[in-house]
């Protein structure tokens, strides 16, 4: 979706402000919220792309004004409501008002060390890769109203395939419950001027990780 989350190239956000000796979390609720999210993801009730799509669908003013973990919290509330796992009335009451659904699995303390890294998104391929390193490709000019990982600034642009990165779960379908539909993934490199015109530094190059359905031969 063409939302405010798709920020590449936007103006007006000001300077980057690094924080010296930044702590991992800035408050206790961030710690708890992060762990809650990880524990809920472990149950298999949602995928990472569904979580991303939930945050992208927050109202733009809320998205821009909320801290990172606040966005996670709001996105999680949205997902709990949409999946029927917990209602806004229960979160407002601070207690369960109805029995929970039966989930596939539950994260225990002893299982935590095995779950702290990301799950694998690679899947067996259904067909050979259409492109190879060195091929010139053009990204499609698509504007789905649903989740996509093709950023706006890199649509309809000509680039070069730099590497084939394997076959992965396709975010565009899995985010909307239409299955994993695995697709080949490529690193596609663009010249800065192809993306930003004459104002770009001449030697700048930018790459994206592009799923095969985003690409056509150029």
């Amino acid at each position: 979706m063409d939302g405010v989350h798709d920020m590449g190239g936007m103006h007006g956000f000001g300077k980057v402000e690094p924080e010296a000796n930044e702590p991992v979390f800035h408050s206790d609720w961030e710690r708890r919220l992060y762990a809650l999210y990880r524990a809920m993801s472990y149950t298999g009730v949602w995928t990472i792309d569904q979580s991303r799509f939930a945050r992208e669908r927050l109202p733009p003013d809320i998205y821009l004004a909320s801290s990172y973990y606040k966005k996670w919290e709001l996105g999680m509330e949205k997902q709990l409501a949409e999946t029927g796992l917990a209602g806004p009335d229960e979160l407002a009451a601070g207690h369960a008002l109805r029995p929970g659904k039966t989930l596939k699995r539950k994260l225990t303390a002893t299982e935590v060390p095995n779950t702290i890294t990301r799950g694998s998104s690679t899947r067996p391929a259904k067909a050979p890769a259409r492109f190879k390193p060195g091929d010139r490709v053009r990204t499609k000019n698509i504007h789905p109203a649903t989740h996509t990982r093709l950023p706006r600034y890199a649509r309809g642009r000509v680039g070069v395939v730099e590497a084939l990165r394997g076959c992965h779960v396709f975010p565009d379908t899995v985010a909307i419950g239409k299955g994993e539909d695995p697709q080949w993934l490529y690193t596609v490199r663009f010249e800065g001027r192809e993306l930003w015109g004459e104002s770009a530094e001449p030697s700048l190059q930018v790459s994206i990780e592009a799923f095969e359905p985003y690409l056509e031969p150029a």
Binding site: H5, G8, E77, A96, L103, K106, N114, R118
Partner: protein, 191 residues
């Protein structure tokens, strides 16, 4: 937010979805075990061991596993090498994708609108915000992490570190130098 998150935890616990005993170990892992010191070890080893450097650039997922500090690395960790002519910078313009396994959770600025918006079209301006100025003839390459592939920058080994141990070299490797918004420390900063 404190109250809201407490309510969330209570509801999810009462519904039987989560075991609250599992929360502290998750937090502890990210506050004490997983962080940029892992990436720094990989970089320091690459600086001192040419065959490890080749392995890291060839398949960083496998190479980092051989360090024995993490038991799993998400698929497709990719190491990109800085040279006098090329500087790499990592961003996720769409959300916050970051190589957690080797750098831990990302800092706030990495997830902020200014960084996500400007890294792809004004990387030199972003570097200036970090107090970094590169030679004008150094090309900049920005990697937008738009899928589940993750990137780590292999910065250049600072001059004047001949004969240093891996451990001592690792003390020069900053988190930002592995994202591409900083450079390793100078030897004089750690002596």
């Amino acid at each position: 937010m404190q109250l809201r998150v407490r309510a969330l935890e209570t509801v999810l616990t009462e519904k039987g979805y989560i075991d609250p005993a599992a929360l502290d170990p998750i937090i502890e892992a990210y506050e004490t075990k997983i962080g940029p010191h892992i990436g720094a070890r990989a970089v320091a080893k690459a600086w001192s061991d040419p065959s490890f450097k080749r392995a890291l650039l060839d398949d960083a997922t496998k190479a980092v596993l051989t360090l024995g500090v993490v038991n799993r690395v998400g698929d497709h960790l990719i190491a990109v090498e800085n040279t006098p002519k090329l500087h790499n910078m990592i961003v996720c313009t769409l959300c916050s994708c970051y190589p957690w396994e080797v750098l831990g959770l990302p800092p706030v600025w990495y997830k902020s609108s200014p960084y996500r918006s400007r890294a792809v079209n004004d990387p030199r301006g972003v570097l200036a915000d970090f107090g970094v100025t590169l030679p004008a003839d150094t090309k900049i390459r920005v990697w937008d992490s738009t899928a589940e592939t993750r990137f780590i920058v292999l910065p250049m080994r600072p001059a004047g570190t001949e004969g240093w141990s891996e451990e001592k070299l690792a003390s020069l490797v900053t988190r930002d130098s592995m994202i591409g918004t900083g450079l390793p420390k100078a030897p004089s900063e750690v002596l």
